[in-house]
Assembly symmetry: C2
Homo-oligomer: 368 residues x 2
């Protein structure tokens, strides 16, 4: 069970993947630090423009010669009436007022734009010879998969249920990430509502590994050597960690955001659609409470995401955590302000200690 399939596929030393957090957290410095420390650094390119992605990749290549990856959101069709759009826009006026954001004229987003941008982003992957590519909110088309595979890109899918993991394997993914209910940020769900079926890793991983033969990576609430080795015991071949890297010195997360995570406890996170229109886990704050109490329905992703974009930016500029998205998994109590190198070193050494102690004494004095 302790095979090195994931290390070989991803060309890394430890099966520790830094979760691709979108929205500025995964700076080239963070990504390269993770790869240099023996894990897999990943760019969260969910909201990026092609030019921006290309320049980040080039920066990463200057900082490391090791393997790294890029994550994309699979674009989805969406629709909204002018009336609902205006309602949702007006709902946020009080927040814009509080943050002194001038009234803006917003045009209804066009689903085709996201499709075009996705194709351009994939061209960047191929042109820049990115070694690993992962996907959230769905599975790319057959055409995209075979094109990337021909170019030797290793493909990683995301699943929040056994069914989604099987779909990923059937589509030809090389690896699948099993995202437990503990995970921070967006639910990767695509075959169902992301707010349903929040399956904890203790249930999710052994049920997925019973059904797929590609390597499974455990994601959600894993912060240290205990979680790492527990995930391997459950049948995972590696782990993906977000919150643990988020508070690292190299992460691009806002100071106020890092501080909020470092102060939070196990009971402080909630699932919300308030910021983006998709279910995501973060620390409960005023923005979430206000939108949950409101009667105005929250539009689907990416509409709500566009509607709240200026608000989140302005709040960050003002160091105002009340209106920022404070994504976090359910283990903020284990988050530390440390370097990436120390985090990975600590994981590996704690895991080695546990291994030694497991190997040393028996589980029980007798046998049945």
């Amino acid at each position: 069970m302790w095979d090195n399939r994931v290390n070989e596929l991803l060309n890394i030393e430890y099966p520790i993947i830094q979760a691709p957090m979108a929205g500025g957290v995964t700076t080239p410095e963070l990504v390269a630090s993770v790869s240099n420390a023996g894990g897999l650094g990943m760019v969260g390119a969910g909201y990026m423009e092609p030019g921006q992605l290309r320049s980040q990749i080039r920066e990463i290549k200057m900082l490391t010669s090791r393997s790294y990856g890029v994550n994309f959101f699979i674009p989805a069709d969406f629709r909204i009436s002018k009336l609902d759009f205006d309602l949702a826009f007006n709902r946020l006026q009080s927040v814009r007022d509080e943050l002194n954001i001038k009234e803006e004229v917003l045009v209804l987003p066009d689903p085709k734009e996201d499709q075009v941008k996705f194709a351009e982003l994939l061209d960047v992957i191929i042109e820049e010879k990115v070694p690993v590519c992962s996907f959230t909110f769905g599975i790319p088309s057959e055409e995209v998969i075979s094109k990337l595979k021909r170019k030797g890109v290793i493909l990683v899918g995301t699943a929040t249920s056994v069914n989604e993991a099987v779909m990923n394997e059937n589509a030809g993914m090389d690896i699948v990430v099993g995202q437990g209910s503990e995970a921070g940020g967006h639910r990767g769900s695509f075959s169902e509502n992301g707010g349903d079926h929040l399956i904890g890793l203790m249930s999710l991983i052994p049920q997925i590994t019973d059904r797929v033969s590609i390597p499974v990576i455990a994601a959600g609430g894993i912060m240290n050597g205990k979680g790492f080795i527990a995930a391997l015991c459950l049948g995972a071949k590696g782990v993906q960690m977000g919150t643990a890297f988020l508070t690292c010195k190299e992460s691009g997360a806002h100071k106020v955001y890092k501080e909020a995570v470092l102060q939070a406890t196990d009971s402080d996170t909630v699932l919300t659609r308030a910021f983006s229109g998709k279910w995501a886990r973060g620390i409960k704050n005023q923005f979430i409470i206000e939108l949950e109490e409101s009667m105005v329905p929250i539009p689907d992703y990416p509409i709500q995401n566009k509607l709240t974009s200026k608000i989140r930016k302005a709040a960050a500029t003002e160091n105002d955590s009340r209106f920022m998205s404070l994504w976090s998994g359910q283990s903020p109590g284990l988050a530390k302000d440390q370097t990436v190198k120390d985090l990975i070193r600590n994981i590996v050494s704690e895991a080695e200690e546990i291994r030694a102690s497991i190997g040393g004494t028996g589980i029980a004095p007798g046998s049945i």
Copy 2:
């Protein structure tokens, strides 16, 4: 970390506790089989009358000379207006009609009755010299705790958050069960709404063990040796398993109920207040759907529990799973129809295999 504190405290061979499932599942045969196989069998006495508990304990003593335990629900104060009670009663008329249950005259339950019964149940524990006692939905009074401790009863609390675990330790519990969001049946939450803060075991256990010094037992989604050893890696000193024992041959669960669990997948369970008024995880069925769609508010526990009692019984008599409570954790895909002895033997041997393979090869080829 692989100490035997739990085995010593509970006087058992393996730190494997059979979860105290109320409602007829934990027959003396099941409890005694678990204890005879080296684990801790537990009676779910949540709904029992004192006489019924005494006779079950006496049966268990005839079937095993080993340690066992009894679980209680901490009685809570409750209040309901006659109007809300009648609304909730009338809401269920269509279900009673479908099951041919004759209209019954129900009196408003009296919170004092539950308090009196709880005291009588505790007397049974002391008189019958029950070795282990666990509690759900709260922490007993100081008086109760010191009385039981003087009699040498080992006390086990239940926590769904770090905060609740600390409260259990401060109150003098010997052991605390950390119930993850994966767990089937009732949420043990008492300091907050059981539908909030559904913390997965991967997050819950390491955060609890960081904060308390009493041994922590992991509960939720654990079905086999993988889950058992993963829980120990996270810092737990043992596991408590419900669904895994529920489908065992010795369990008193209804045939239709066992079948439903054996057929279910990871995505089939939901949290609901429909059956008892307290949040609990079970397989989604018609009763849950009907009550969720209804506009009539579901009364708190134990009122709703009384209101649905005849319905659940009649449905069981008719083998009609549409109206039965089908409690299950999030790992029904790993449930098996087997004997308790085989279940425990398989857990221990799978765990030993994992230990051996962990001990054998390194986590990673290099080091940093």
